[in-house]
Symmetry: C2
Subunit: 439 residues, 2 copies
């Protein structure tokens, strides 16, 4: 240590976890857990004090704890608003400099709250850990995590309190991982420190079969697999940052989503399926903020999809669903979806890539679409699931615009106004409101 | 570079300055100036925009500019209040971590404001410059300033925007210079970069013969010497941080105090006296926040003053006036003054040093005293000035509790309630409201 994360293969993993906190592995002295508190969970001084009590409870239970914090409450939004008042297009490097000040406040106050309770603690900025990243401001990727200072603190009985969301490039420039990046920090530290569990404490008490605001009968899942949650988070369950889950899955860091204020087991995310004969569909995910772009009448030549999508990828815009229909008359239609906030930029990039070259090519866009997905590792027959899915949607008069499938999910794109109705009818069709008895 | 500041002797100094901005030294390509904006001058987004315009005006006039910023408006106070809500005695390391987030916000927003005006700029935290300090949190001292990145930026036509108040120790821990520490940053950078002038832009348009709120006829001084301003700032004129002025004097960095919003020449602080035959007294300084401690009946033994004051010095408490009267009956009275905020701590330190050793020793304290000083490099005869001073004070019935003299100042300690009256009568006695004709 520090070792390049992607080269570290032998991360220890304590599998026999009880709910709430990992059971001690008797061969190890102590179980190490990472606790990450989200912004709403530390939005006030009183909440910071409550979070400190949570950390102390874990410590009193015999665990070593590393704390990772987001910025307090709406700090990030307030800072963004200041930037917006100055310029609509702030330089990413300066935005990172601005926004990372938020976690700096959280970590110092948290340490003060721990000190007041006579628990030794020390705060660390991303650059101090250090969390080394590439130089892509606003969307930086982690290259290396130094563990020496944290291990030294843990050995000395201290609680290291680390600023989430941030790192530094090789020249010491402050970088950020983008929205929700504190989850990434927590998981990266859990992986590098070989923690037994990475806890994500927030204002939700777990992960539900779908959004309870849309379907009141939605149930909290006790356990869910990385594969399932990846599909769900990428589709908009918004409980966890997608990259953090990928990271956790890659390094087999058990993740637990739980409430920062209410006791409870939360939802454990690991590689184990809940039951061998579990339900076919585990949950319904959806994403309201989709935008659809179709390039109609593209000449059917090898590499044409790449030519169109390459500039989009270079701009680091995430493309989600991609559909290319069978050629007709030497031409194809290429459709894909992006996050709604990337819609305008994507349109202009696509326009630059195909515009002017071929007058019969037409670019169409629709920023008012939404995606609904049924997800489940138990899903074996796409055909059966798909049939049931389309039947349910058709029963409500909902037209399906695009379809995409993966190993454990089927997604459909619908007009945004049908989103809630679609989610409700699918939740009911797959009987997700009923607790299944195992096997 | 980076070279240890205290070892760098050959800082270039362009002496023939015009008011407002330094005249270009024709043998040098460009004059480099450091502009430091105080918190009230960048308290809102609009003020930051105005500050950016000031920087651009200097740049358009042909200067290279390095900007140093404080935290916006009352940010520091708000952060301190958050800390106070958690604990009355926050650890200095964590307080530094907390407070230094304030300048981080300022520098990024300032860069955005410059970018918007198409002026390339780049922000730097103290740790990024780097400004290396010792590890005394809250009162750190600068050990080294790295200039390479700043010079590279200046050569490339960029405006480096540096966070004031902060640095980092050899382990990368964030440190601060204490209240007003942004002045220290500005002067240290001006010295290290061999700047032609260090401008302190704030809500005052210069340095006055005394506080205009106390004496309405107080005049702005065109020029004042380092020696004079040092006596004035240490005595409470509160325009500049004392350490910054010492630093500026040591490395002969011309300092200019001027308004951030109103055009004007401000007050230039340099080594030259205003006129060869200038006024005897240049200004009246005062400090409201004094506290007096007397240890009465101390055995008159060698080293006794040291034994009492050493623990105070070790706690980094600044002792100002020290008076030891002639021994009487083998015992002396030792009196000294400290800043009022250090009063309680000093009392307990002194108690620890002398208490219990000798029952006839008595410790007396008075936290409601104030100091008034007349200052002037033209001061030749202490006796004459002192006589005039005591006559004026006696005429108002003001009792003098302690007296201290230096080469260019005479200070008296009075009860705080007499402060304003004393300053007014001295300002009048030395005719400071009248502009003197040179020579």
């Amino acid at each position: 240590m520090p070792g390049v994360i992607v080269d570290v293969a032998l991360f220890c993993h304590i599998r026999d976890l009880s709910f709430g906190l990992p059971r001690l592995n008797r061969s190890a002295a102590l179980a190490l857990i990472v606790q990450k508190f989200g912004g709403t969970s530390i939005g006030t001084v009183d909440l910071i004090q409550a979070a400190a009590e949570r950390t102390i409870a874990a410590r009193d239970a015999g665990h070593q704890v590393v704390v990772v914090l987001s910025a307090m409450g709406d700090t990030t939004d307030r800072l963004l608003e200041l930037a917006r008042q100055i310029t609509p297009r702030a330089a990413p490097r300066e935005l990172d400099m601005l926004l990372t000040s938020g976690e700096q406040v959280s970590i110092s106050l948290m340490c003060m709250a721990l000190h007041r309770r006579e628990v030794p603690a020390r705060s660390y900025l991303g650059s101090q850990v250090p969390i080394l990243t590439d130089a892509v401001h606003g969307k930086a990727q982690i290259r290396d995590v130094g563990c020496e200072r944290l291990f030294a603190d843990l050995d000395a009985g201290l609680v290291p309190v680390v600023a989430g969301f941030q790192g530094a490039d090789e020249h010491g420039n402050v970088t950020s991982f983008g929205r929700g990046g504190s989850d990434t920090t927590a998981v990266a530290l859990a992986a590098a420190l070989e923690a037994a569990e990475c806890q994500i404490l927030s204002d939700v008490d777990g992960i539900y079969t779908t959004d309870p605001r849309v379907v009141p009968t939605a149930r909290r899942m006790e356990r869910v697999t990385f594969e399932e949650i990846l599909e769900m988070s990428s589709l908009g369950s918004r409980v966890l940052q997608r990259r953090a889950v990928e990271f956790a899955g890659k390094y087999n860091v058990p993740l637990r989503v739980l409430s920062a204020t209410v006791d409870g087991p939360g939802t454990l995310i690991s590689y184990e399926a809940p039951e061998l004969e579990g339900p076919v569909v585990s949950g319904i995910a959806f994403n309201r903020d989709e935008a659809e772009i179709t390039i109609a009448g593209v000449p059917d030549r090898p590499g044409i999809a790449h030519a169109i999508l390459a500039p989009v990828a270079e701009a680091r815009i995430e493309v989600d669903m991609i559909v290319l229909n069978a050629p007709r008359g030497g031409r194809v239609d290429l459709s894909f979806t992006v996050h709604r906030s990337d819609f305008e930029e994507t349109l202009s990039l696509v326009d630059g890539a195909v515009g002017g070259r071929d007058l019969s090519t037409e670019i169409l866009g629709n920023a008012r679409v939404a995606k609904i997905s049924v997800v489940g590792v138990g899903m074996r027959s796409h055909a059966g699931i798909a049939a049931k899915m389309f039947q349910a949607l058709a029963g409500e008069g909902i037209n399906v615009r695009m379809i995409a499938t993966s190993e454990i999910k089927i997604s459909v794109l619908v007009e945004e106004r049908y989103l809630e109705l679609g989610v409700r009818c699918l939740h009911e069709a797959f009987e997700l409101d009923r607790v299944k008895s195992p096997g």
